[in-house]
């Protein structure tokens, strides 16, 4: 940012002067005329008590700001018990003064602002607001479920084009970034773990390390987080903007439930796409691990893959991929819900998009933790 340029210089600023018992206003009573000094000028001047005359004939130019200052000056003098008579003002200046006075009177006095909330009240309101949001979100999930049920009864009314469009943007277009990031995660995990294994001469166990960590935990999680940032946010921004431009209301009046067109295709598209993306991430992250294993741990591709087949059970793979539809539902529902929460303008879209991504990632990680506990409890977690 460049520095703020200086305001226009004023050659002839607003001045209050006492001249042989008369009080004179002179110069440019305008926004650039140094009107902020008038209050100090008033206090510096000795004012007669009782009735006095204020001569405005010396005012060269006046704008609404200057008129406001002149009215303030008179009001301040009259507050101290003087009677002020304004004389000599040019007709057009008088007209402006009258306009300002009239408009201010017409606007009336502002009601005093309600007292600020104290801490306890603020806490209460905060709690109440969040409780309401929680309840509303549950209601939204319920609505989506009902719409899904309705769809099961009338599958012909499903919007296939919207579904395939969403699979393409949320799934196919995400392939490169998922591939690159999961490959790098695979490299890092194998490299960090491999250093320790090499120390004990247990190089071949790199396969267990890479396969189990990535397939069960990291690949599904990383994929879900990328998709939450990429797709969840776009769902919120899209629906939010449609709310502002009244497109959502337009859908309702045409008889298309927004749930059917905007939410269900997105939800189902993500439930289909995210597990597939997770498999994709599995492949690339394990590939990253293989490269490191061959380069630094003397485990060849053949050795790696032989052992991979032995140690990785179908359960391990399915546990990882099986979490993906749940993550997908979380991301899509949070994204769409926050989109419908948008009110007002552009700023609200930005705020709800942020909330959408933060909440989706939070809930995905929380759900992942819940999976670990529950699956561990039933003994599936080895």
């Amino acid at each position: 940012m460049t520095a703020k340029p200086a305001p226009l210089p004023s050659a002839d600023p607003a001045i209050l002067r006492r001249d042989q018992g008369r009080y004179r206003c002179e110069g440019h009573w305008t926004l650039d005329g140094g009107i902020e000094t008038l209050e100090a000028q008033r206090q510096d001047l000795r004012w007669a008590t009782g009735a006095l005359q204020l001569d405005g004939s010396g005012i060269r130019a006046i704008d609404t700001t200057g008129a406001l200052q002149l009215l303030n000056l008179i009001a301040a003098l009259e507050r101290d018990g003087r009677r002020v008579q304004l004389v000599g003002l040019r007709a057009e200046h008088q007209a402006l003064l009258d306009l300002v006075r009239g408009r201010r009177a017409a606007a009336g006095e502002a009601r005093p602002a309600p007292p600020a909330w104290n801490g306890l009240e603020r806490l209460g309101r905060w709690y109440w607001r969040h409780l309401n949001h929680g309840v509303e979100f549950l209601a939204f999930i319920g609505e989506a479920a009902v719409a899904l049920g309705r769809l099961a009864l009338h599958p012909s009314r499903f919007r296939w084009r919207a579904l395939f469009g969403n699979i393409e943007t949320a799934g196919v277009h995400a392939l490169p970034i998922i591939a690159l990031l999961s490959f790098m995660i695979g490299v890092v995990i194998a490299y960090q773990g491999g250093e320790q294994l090499k120390f004990y001469g247990a190089n071949i166990f790199i396969v267990e390390l890479v396969a189990l960590t990535l397939l069960r935990e990291l690949a599904p999680l990383i994929t879900a987080i990328i998709v939450a940032g990429r797709t969840g946010s776009s769902y919120t921004a899209q629906i939010g903007t449609m709310r502002i431009t009244e497109e959502v209301d337009a859908l309702r009046t045409i008889g298309i439930p927004p749930m059917d067109l905007l939410v269900l295709p997105k939800l189902l598209a993500l439930i289909i796409a995210l597990p597939l993306l997770t498999v994709f991430a599995d492949i690339f992250s394990v590939f990253g691990g293989m490269i490191v294993a061959r380069a630094f741990l003397e485990v060849s591709f053949t050795e790696f893959l032989d052992r991979f087949v032995q140690v990785v059970t179908l359960t391990s793979f399915l546990l990882g991929v099986g979490k993906a539809p749940v993550f997908a539902a979380i991301i899509a529902l949070v994204g769409c819900y926050q989109g419908f929460q948008v009110r007002g303008g552009a700023e609200s879209v930005g705020r709800h998009t942020t909330i959408s991504v933060v909440q989706a990632i939070f809930l995905v990680i929380a759900a992942n933790a819940l999976f670990s506990v529950v699956l561990g409890g039933v003994g599936l977690w080895r």
């Binding site: 703020k4 340029p5 200086a6 305001p7 226009l8 305008t30 926004l31 650039d32 009107i35 902020e36 704008d63 609404t64 700001t65 406001l68 057009e92 007209a95 402006l96 306009l99 300002v100 408009r103 201010r104 017409a106 606007a107 009336g108 006095e109 502002a110 009601r111 602002a113 009110r343 007002g344 303008g345 552009a346 700023e347 609200s348």
Partner: protein, 264 residues
């Protein structure tokens, strides 16, 4: 000497203006002059380039060729500093208001003051409240958010922001579009009254025929990429140009004209 005052009285001078987007020419060889203290309307069919012309004049859009002078200063190729100083001399009312949604009405009106003056926060708030009152909004409107305002109030709040710096020149893009007849009429009155007392020059884009009859001194009719007619309304409606005749011959135009004649 007479010549000098004459040129000084011309606030906007557009000469040989050409605006094109890619291969599509929107305006070509366009000339227009606006005198100080006039209320000038730009009219013409949809896509005739009214808003484009307005955007070129307020430096939002760089013309392909030609010259535009604002207050006697050429704005094509103007420096950043000079443009900054020029911008504080005009106000613009956008069609949808374009109030910043993250600021209250008072903060919206205060924004140009904060950017262009070094007044204290107390002075700025006081001036902003005055502008809000000048625009005909009740006290207390300053604390509202733009999303809480009705269409008419939104236009008034946007007008208050356009007037924030006491501009000599005011641009209005469809000021009465989307307002009910009563609000539209009140808005016309407001603009006229402010123009009288604040010594404003007003340039507006409008389709509102009642506004055209009631508020304007001259009307520039845009068509065929140029100004094809530039005259006061009573003369303009008599013009022979086929585009102008088509525009003013509809039943709505006649009704507005009869209304205007009756009022006079």
């Amino acid at each position: 000497m007479a010549l000098a005052t004459e040129t000084k009285d011309i606030v906007i001078a557009v000469r040989g203006l050409r605006v094109q987007f890619g291969a599509e020419i929107i305006l070509d060889h366009l000339d227009l002059e606006v005198r100080r203290g006039a209320v000038v309307a730009l009219v013409g069919g949809s896509g005739s380039g009214k808003t484009t012309l307005l955007r070129a004049i307020i430096m939002l859009l760089r013309p392909t060729a030609g010259s535009i002078e604002l207050f006697g200063e050429e704005i094509i190729g103007i420096g950043e500093r000079a443009a900054f100083l020029l911008r504080r001399r005009f106000g613009m009312l956008f069609q949808q208001g374009a109030l910043f949604g993250s600021l209250t009405v008072r903060e919206n009106v205060a924004a140009p003051l904060r950017e262009h003056t070094r007044l204290s926060a107390r002075h700025i708030a006081e001036i902003a409240d005055l502008k809000i009152a000048l625009a005909g909004l009740p006290a207390g409107a300053g604390d509202k958010w733009p999303r809480e305002l009705s269409g008419g109030m939104l236009k008034r709040a946007a007008l208050a922001r356009a007037l924030a710096l006491d501009p000599a020149l005011l641009f209005l893009d469809e000021p009465t579009a989307g307002l009910d007849p009563v609000s539209a009429g009140a808005f016309d009155e407001l603009v006229l009254q402010l123009k009288e007392s604040l010594d404003l020059t007003v340039v507006m884009v409008t389709h509102d025929l009642d506004s055209l009859w009631r508020t304007t001194d001259r009307v520039a009719f845009l068509g065929e990429k140029q100004v094809v007619g530039y005259a006061p309304m009573p003369e303009l409606v008599m013009a022979e140009h086929p585009l102008i005749r088509a525009y003013f011959e509809g039943p709505r135009a006649r009704a507005a004209q009869e209304q205007a004649c009756k009022a006079k």
